[in-house]
Amino acid sequence: MLTTQLLNPHKWVDNHADYLYAFAMSRLSDEEQARDLVQEVFLAALERSDKFEGKSSERTWLTAILKNKIIDIYRKRSPGLNNLPVKAAEQEQQDFFYEDGHWKEEHWPQEFGLNTDDPLHEKEFNKVLQHCMKKLPALWFAVFTMKHMEDESTETICTELKVTSANFWVIIHRAKINLRACLQKTWI
């Protein structure tokens, strides 16, 4: 028996589908996957509707289910998470820095000249930002998104994605350096 007093599945699509879709799109950047997820979320929600206690809003509850599914996808996208070669990632830093830790001249950060007061300008920048995020390796993208978009705790991210704390910091550092470099290259 559905708790129809609390949940109204007849209105789910009207009330929440676009929201959930945008939520998934901003975190997956994949239309087909995002669509599929919205459907999966509704079906999963129906199955466990008896577990809904009405402590949160319907939307919050559906979004929580969606978040878990997104993490599942992050996991699937980055196989062999345990074996992430930290050494290799650290060595790759050499692309940007000399051995003594100095920036290589060709990678010096330069001003973006971004005007955040101009919505159009900012919109363009967002596009470039998404483009550059997509280019990150899957695991880095997952760690980066969970941290900076979701504001998940470091502990949760490490547990969910099976990353050690040392790897987490290497990835966070590395992802930002790459992302920033891509922004500079594409934007300026």
Partner: protein, 91 residues
């Protein structure tokens, strides 16, 4: 090389500290290290500013994708609601 001298010349370490600062904060010692480095390194000062800006923009991505009205098409939505009704009728 002493620890302070080390940080003065190490941009890789400084950029790491900038990330750490943004995520969980720095110890007093680390704060000092970074402060000294940034004082003398204009390149890392640009990185520092941009790194915080990037975080802010990433947080806003979802909001802006909502404003842009990223929407599912109506046919898909109709099919979806139909599917839900079917499931509901099963019970």
């Amino acid at each position: 090389m002493g620890p302070i001298k080390k940080i003065i010349y190490n941009c890789k370490r400084a950029t790491f500290l900038i990330e750490k600062k943004l995520i969980e904060g720095l110890t007093l010692r680390e704060k000092m290290e970074l402060y000294i480095h940034l004082y003398g390194c204009s390149v890392c000062r640009v990185f520092d500013k941009q790194s915080a800006l990037i975080n802010k923009m990433v947080q806003q991505l979802f909001k802006s994708s909502n404003d842009d009205k990223i929407r599912l098409d109506d046919t898909f939505k109709q099919g979806l609601q139909h599917r839900i009704e079917e499931e509901l009728n099963k019970n």
